[in-house]
Symmetry: C2
Subunit: 726 residues, 2 copies
């Protein structure tokens, strides 16, 4: 691994392609670097000019008086590989390539990117880009980029009074959006450490930068802007490292919707779509997603201001002096999935001393203007935070005038020191500059939008819960022992499509579907005999790798009562199957006891082009798929993760006691998910998809029935795989 | 109706309770009024002081040298009725009551509010409040309130360069939130006409102010903040008037979630909950809802800037010079329900002349920095707007520097004049002040958040579509002729709970459920004979007003094949019914042919405490109710509204051709909804609820089957009604 420190912390820099024309990008970057007090030497490299912006220029990096640490390449794309090679030969260990015209232009550009990667590897160089906008090392006052946001005229690089004690780094595949964070965060006094833009990622990718910065230990909050993750395994490893270290990764994922793809969205695309896969990974590894700058910055501000003061749960107390604003905040909290419980009696009694009769101590606590005058915001928040009913506090303020908060500042600071619960502030008027400073100093994050304030509290609670779970279990993806070897051998010997009778023994080795296996028969008589032995209503299902859609083919018969019915059905399903696919290779007919009733669940595993195998769970039936209530998670997953996934289904309510039905056996479903995920993880390289559709979950303690099973192996062309797995 | 003009446009004002102590509210209001150049006379009224803030004071309104137009009352609550009476006797025609301590404190306060209402009526006075924060007539420089937002130190009341040519009025039940709009809108250069806060609405309510301002014709956009609508009929009438006039009502509805109510949420509360009812009204009358200040102001800004340039549909073209930012905007558009279609070939060809090879003309159109330099934003937007594939354009800009837009200003103005499609601007950097001015002048709304920009485009498209539909149909709630008289007579004679056999003839008079009526029988033999005559599988259902939950009582038998089965079932259901409710009065048993299969729909009518009867539609089954996919609409509704409602169901997709099922007969469902809504509207005073649950909708052209029907009449205690209707 090359040393990213050489890229981000160079002592000397060469700008290859620098120009005196400051209207062009090649002149701008040189001008911007020199406008900041970077302590190192900066050399312009120019083929044509002896001097650039008054500085002596050199014709090539080889002509420089020293071997610089970093070369910034901003020459036309076609010259980039040769220039990079020259840098490597000269012993330069880092390069930032800002030139455009690579993979985004087609095959030639893609080939040039491969050349860049090869050169970087050959010389062990840390190379960012191409097609990036460069980077900024704010701590070193090095702005190796042409973004207007790091131009001196745009404002200070570091705020005079930064928020909290932490630093934020931005790592973005998009140059424009990456530097826009620096610009948009200025009113919020965020102290940045790095802005790195990675462009097409021919060599270094987002994960490499995060990894470096985690090791460095100076970045407390990360803002990531991602179009597509290049190396999924590395990303997951680094994300887990960040979660363990308690350094939140706040992520904007762009390109979640493809208008073109949407138009032609097929059933399979919906279930295994890349957007859902990314979300599954973010959820698993505790990345906090924001839909735009403000949502992302809200979360960053909260972590900077609160440090370790994170809510231990989702229960919020709201302090307000304006009834209307308090109600609006309660609405926002409920919409964000937070609870706003009625406070306990002791807390209410303590508040009663301050709250007049036309206020309320319920929650939101409306002290009225009169009450807050007596209490002050700090004391008000402290009383509510002391309630065992809440995990965090939101104080509704009007930040237009600072005098009242100014008087309260010492108490606010005490509160931050003494109270382990976070105290957020939401102002319904525009904040005065001094108010922002006061709250910065006090350690209270300030929000101007109620939805953003509530959403952030929720994100912080989820982050804390996930991290605590991870620290308990030591690792997110922990391998466990299993019936691995036997199944691997059976799987290797099996055909590409394993219909139910073939799939079941493999799954059963992991304890999946053992309750309902059924038996393969080859005649109506045999079927009738088996059915009688089962002593229950049975189903018959034709088994053929060529007929994955058995129901539509008429190759299934359900609810067969007696031997006659079974015999008749045997002939019927076989005839239908042969009519449907005349060339089908039929292995036999499965006789299976009918499952008792329950909630119908779809459970499966599908392969995502980026993230590999993902477990899929949803409630069954046409309707739920239509409502897009399907969740994904990377495999394997433990019981806590499985249970959390079930809880996040919109349809989760139907598992509870519901209109006369007893609660469903969620424990059994949880166990099934863990087993299936382990099966998939153990044989990830062999498997393309597994469908248990449906699984019938019975009442509490009654278990479940896996009613159908299909495994499709990997290594057939994608088009065929899709058809078979559907 | 009293003259609100006297309240908002007084020539002379008395401040009853004015004080020299400017730290208190009674001193603040007098100070604030006098700090602005209001042209009228302002008299302080004080029992104790001869002078207030240097102005000669009077002991009572009766001692004034003239009869003032407006009295502002800011005395303790207990004195308010007497003071108001004194004002009335003195001939004063308007009063604003700012005192607190009325209905929010309990019974005494509620009684005082009734007194206020009576006095207002007796003297034909325009009375606002109590418990309000007063109002501001910005046009007259009259700030009759104590809000810090209208203090001179907070900034100008009217921006130096207002956005667009229109004016905005705020009408809010909450004082603090109402004036916060003035504060928060300052950076966006919105010109306000009035800020009116209505408090407890003892007399005048939000609708009265909107009505006055619509008649006045000077307000172009309304911002409403509502906790609860006082007189629903008036609200609907005024909302329709505003929609006809093309003056958008942008509404914040606070108190949508009740943490207490949520905890105990019963099934019925979910279906008929007040939040859903408000949303149904907002949707019907074209009110545009926002969840916070920024969402509401985004919409206001767009209407002010665009005037009549509203999108004719939901298709958006996106212009960008930053690939990443363009993708992010496309994501936001898709999330807001907008389409981002690939542009037509002619438009793409026209753009090709400017867009370099590493850009794209698909949509978003990424011109790259190079392309936009050649084109300019105006020409870029014009080329995209000319595409017949789009209804509006969003231009992604960086507004940090104004020079580029400055040069483009004349062309932007031409574009606004010549192009009927709206052109929105989203900046991903923070806008410079001059940029805001330029875009104001050009007539382009500027957004700093991508989700808000997209959401606003969508809201505008929906508003235009709804308004055009209204203007075509002349009225939102148009009465139609019907079988009204006959049904009214039958309904009057019927018991409170009409079980299916009683409800069906009434509904059939409106063409509802005629396909599947069934017949009432009183013996097993009779049942068997009727079933045989029907020649199909039948169901038996015990008919009793005392057993509304027939299925749970075991009082229903389904899928009966032959006469023997019917006879046996007859005895079984009767026995079960009698066991379930031994005292039940049983009217007979209904024999009904089983309906063919199809999509199961719940259709009903429920009474909301505020909005009266609302039609309810959703897909049937336990799951959909759990997913909260139930929509409401006021009755009656026409076919277009019914169809739109069906289309807004999350589950609407299952009506389409779906996994082998033919499309559902949505026409039949639409017609049923219109008929049921007409039935309900015609007999609104008599009906508490109607349930058609389920309705089975068959394939296209195959109609539907109303499988069950229940009508509950009004005028029984609420608790009983609920139980019966469940």
């Amino acid at each position: 691994m090359p040393d990213i420190g050489k890229l981000l912390w160079p002592k000397s820099v060469a700008v290859v392609g620098a120009s005196s024309d400051t209207h062009g990008l090649r002149g701008r970057i040189f001008e911007i670097i020199r406008s900041h007090p970077f302590a190192g030497t900066v050399y312009p490299i120019s083929r044509s000019a002896a001097e650039v912006q008054g500085v002596k220029a050199y014709p090539s990096v080889e002509a420089l008086p020293e071997v610089v640490d970093l070369a910034i390449l901003i020459v036309p794309a076609a010259y980039v590989p040769a220039e990079l090679e020259r840098c490597g030969r000269a012993g330069i260990k880092a390069a930032a390539i800002l030139s455009s015209g690579f993979a985004e232009e087609g095959e030639t550009g893609t080939r040039m990117q491969r050349e860049i990667a090869a050169i970087a590897q050959r010389y062990d160089m840390a190379v960012s880009g191409p097609n990036s906008e460069g980077f900024a090392n704010i701590a070193a006052s090095l702005c190796a980029n042409f973004s207007p946001a790091s131009d001196k005229s745009a404002g200070l690089l570091t705020p005079a009074r930064p928020l909290g004690r932490g630093q934020v780094s931005v790592i973005s595949q998009s140059g424009g959006l990456g530097f826009a964070f620096l610009d948009r965060a200025r009113p919020r006094n965020i102290k940045f450490r790095y802005i790195a833009t990675t462009g097409n990622e021919a060599a270094l990718e987002i994960s490499d930068f995060v990894d470096y910065m985690l090791d460095e230990g100076e970045t407390d909050v990360f803002l990531l802007l991602i179009e597509a993750v290049k190396t999924p395994g590395k990303f997951k490893r680094v994300a887990e490292k960040a979660l363990k270290a308690g350094k939140p990764l706040i992520v904007g994922k762009i390109g979640q919707t493809d208008p073109g793809r949407r138009a032609a969205a097929s059933h399979t695309a919906v279930l295994a779509g890349s957007q859902a896969a990314y979300r599954a990974i973010f959820d698993r590894y505790g990345l906090i997603e924001g839909r735009d700058f403000d949502e992302m910055l809200d979360v960053a501000v909260a972590f900077l201001a609160c440090g370790d003061r994170m809510p231990a749960g989702r229960r919020v107390g709201i302090c307000t002096a304006s009834g209307g604003a308090g109600i609006w905040m309660a609405d926002a909290c409920a919409a964000a999935g937070l609870d706003v419980p009625v406070l306990d009696a002791a807390t209410r009694a303590a508040l009663d001393a301050y709250v007049p009769s036309y206020g309320t101590t319920q929650n939101p606590v409306d002290s009225t203007a009169q009450g807050v005058q007596k209490l002050g915001y700090a004391q008000f928040a402290r009383l509510v935070a002391q309630s065992p009913s809440v995990d965090g506090v939101i104080v509704v303020i009007t930040a237009r005038r600072s005098a009242f908060l100014e008087a309260d500042l010492p108490k606010l600071k005490d509160l931050a020191r003494e109270c382990p619960k976070p105290v957020f502030m939401w102002t319904y008027t525009l904040p005065a500059e001094r108010t922002i400073e006061i709250l910065n100093e006090a350690g209270n994050p300030l929000f101007t939008g109620a939805p953003g304030c509530a959403r952030t509290m929720r994100a912080m609670a989820d982050y804390r819960a996930l991290r605590e779970r991870l620290l308990e279990t030591a690792s997110i993806a922990e391998p466990v022992t299993s019936a691995r070897t036997m199944v691997a051998a059976l799987l290797a010997a099996a055909p590409l499509v394993l219909s139910e009778y073939r799939a079941r023994p493999l799954l059963a080795a992991y304890g999946i579907g053992t309750e309902n296996a059924g038996e393969l028969v080859h005649s109506g008589e045999e079927a009738a005999a088996k059915a009688q032995a089962m002593g229950r209503l049975v189903a018959l299902k034709v088994q053929s790798a060529d007929i994955p859609h058995k129901t539509e083919a008429g190759a299934v018969a359900l609810n067969l009562v007696d031997a006659d019915a079974v015999r008749a059905a045997y002939d019927r399903v076989l005839t239908a199957a042969k009519r449907h696919v005349p060339t089908a290779q039929i292995d036999g007919v499965l006789v299976q006891p009918m499952a008792p009733p329950g909630r119908e669940v779809i459970l499966g595993v599908n392969r995502d082009p980026t993230w590999g195998l993902l477990l899929m769970v949803g409630l069954g039936g046409v309707l739920v798929e239509a409502l897009d209530d399907i969740l994904l998670a990377p495999v394997p997953l433990d019981a806590a993760a499985a249970r959390a996934l079930i809880g996040r289904l919109k349809a989760a309510v139907v598992f509870r006691r519901y209109r006369g039905l007893p609660p469903a056996d969620v424990d059994a479903l949880t166990e099934l998910m863990v087993r299936l995920s382990q099966f998939s993880a153990d044989h990830a390289e062999e498997i393309d998809s597994i469908d248990l559709n449906p699984v019938i979950v019975h009442g509490e303690g009654k278990g479940l029935s896996v009613v159908d099973a299909l495994i499709v192996k990997r290594d057939v062309p994608a088009a065929e795989r899709r058809g078979a797995a559907e």
